[in-house]
Symmetry: C2
């Protein structure tokens, strides 16, 4: 069978079946934003890893090397934020074509460093090798949090509000601006920036994990339509999302109106916003900006209130 | 400038310059087999990462998928062994061409699992993505050891014996057997097996780290000629290696004699043996098999006693 038929989540299931097994005490393995490993002194180690390949995740001529460096680090640190952890450091593997100019690498490293400094987590190691094809990047991040404080996908309970930490769809609209050659206006360029330079919500994640009423949490990488389904599945619950409550930035509305794009679809299915998606008991007052977009339900289906459409998130395969 | 002119170690220096900086207390960053991160309760976390790319590290038609799965895990767990640590778990990123058959992946995962079970460390997470080019594999391993017990490259002192845990050059001879089409004999097939299925010296590494007289340690991935230089540089010392003391397996001698290959050159420069290379005070009796091949000296040069040649290890770029 061809891998394409399996799909990304089918592939992950296959890997879990092949390699899964009983986890040691206190260890959380495959299936959340990070793995969680207990330490001896009341702390937990968080680890996550992501691979970015030329041609699949980026085109060398499209994204400036410095922004790619930032983004490679950012999308990983976002997974630490999604658990409510503090970043500790990162590991960078680079597969580089032999003829690549060292200026490209210097710019990439400068962007990687900016994000590492923003997250307070130095580079701790890595690997460099020659690639016969395109550029291959793999980042592994390590973080930590107090034992029992990490927020997992399985923690949602019926009655919870479903919330996000910031506007949705900016990154997806920015990608469309690039792909459809709609660049130039101030609003369009701001969206492109949001696509190339996502900001991991490190402080928000830690603040939310320190707030008792906050339950499930993850970061939005594939779009709410896809990511929320992970929370629902892991927590064995359903949800009603009120599509008119989705936070959309003024610039994103403006560019969508001008281009004739459906803002709701971009907001729900575009992905790469790297805002945090979380659930919390009604009445909880977390010390961060947030937008409530729906409610967790006992009934195990996903209802898009205010839209006749169904929404599916980004698929990797 | 072209990356090729920089060379692998020039590239790593460049990355250290760009991204290095003061490390947090107790953290060992870039430059050893693993990074070392202090935990709260008298333990340390060890982390290492390695990227394997099709066309650079393996040819899909050459190495059976199951053995590639084993090897991908093994070369990483070997880095935990090289610090004297206990493996805890691993993270696997896979970039797979869309048309790849799922049988290939199932066999790869079976081999990866065998090695993970051998090392007592389950898969804890990872990433899967489509590759537009060849297969891309990145493994990150996590281990732990008691605080202050990890053995680093900088710990060698003049007067130390230089030792290895097993025969050298088997893997390099096995690679030559494959490349030069010299397969068939029992001895040749055993060497091929040593090339495809290196065994990480997990128990040896932990036993050596528990032995007070053992100082510097690393694993042999690029060949003693290259790897020993890392220990000498990090420890600011020199060495005399007695080439007639190099442990060579009977099968390797036999195949080299038949094919007219220089066994000493293969043993010193071939790499991928994944035996441990360590230094220890004379009189130390570690509870593992070992072969003393030379002595650490105050004079900062590297002398190959018994040979008129100089030996350089494998270069990645």
């Amino acid at each position: 069978m061809d891998l394409k038929e399996l799909g990304e989540f089918g592939l992950i299931e296959r890997i879990k079946e092949a390699l899964g097994g009983p986890m040691p005490d206190g260890v959380l393995g495959i299936g959340d934003d990070c793995a969680v490993l207990p330490q001896a002194g009341g702390m937990e180690t968080l680890v996550s890893t992501d691979m970015l390949l030329e041609g699949t995740h980026f085109l060398r001529g499209d994204i400036p090397a410095r922004l790619l460096g930032w983004k490679s680090a950012a999308v990983n640190f976002s997974d630490i934020a999604a658990m409510g952890g503090r970043p500790v450091g990162s590991f960078l593997s680079l597969g580089l074509p032999a003829g690549l100019d060292s200026d490209w690498m210097d710019a990439f490293l400068a962007g990687y460093k900016e994000c590492s400094q923003y997250c307070g987590a130095p580079l701790l190691g890595g690997d460099t090798t020659t690639s016969q094809d395109g550029i291959a990047i793999n980042v592994t991040v390590v973080g930590q949090c107090q034992s029992g404080r990490s927020r997992q996908r399985s923690f949602a309970v019926p009655g919870d509000l479903i919330c996000v930490t910031g506007p949705l769809g900016d990154s997806a609209a920015g990608l469309q601006v690039i792909l459809q050659g709609a660049r130039g206006s101030e609003a369009a360029e701001a969206l492109v920036q949001r696509h190339y330079r996502p900001v991991p919500r490190i402080c928000e994640g830690q603040a939310l994990a320190a707030t008792p009423g906050v339950h499930a949490m993850m970061d939005i990488s594939d779009g709410v339509a896809s990511d929320l389904r992970h929370i629902l599945k892991a927590s064995d619950v359903g949800a009603v999302v009120r599509t008119e409550k989705l936070p959309l930035s003024a610039g994103m509305r403006q560019v969508c109106a001008r281009q004739g794009w459906d803002a709701t679809t971009l907001a729900l299915t575009g992905g790469e916003d790297y805002e945090l998606l979380f659930t919390m008991a009604p009445g909880t007052e977390p010390p961060v900006e947030y937008y409530a977009i729906g409610t967790v339900t006992e009934e195990k289906n996903l209802v898009w209130e205010g839209s006749s459409q169904d929404f599916i998130g980004f698929r990797h395969f």
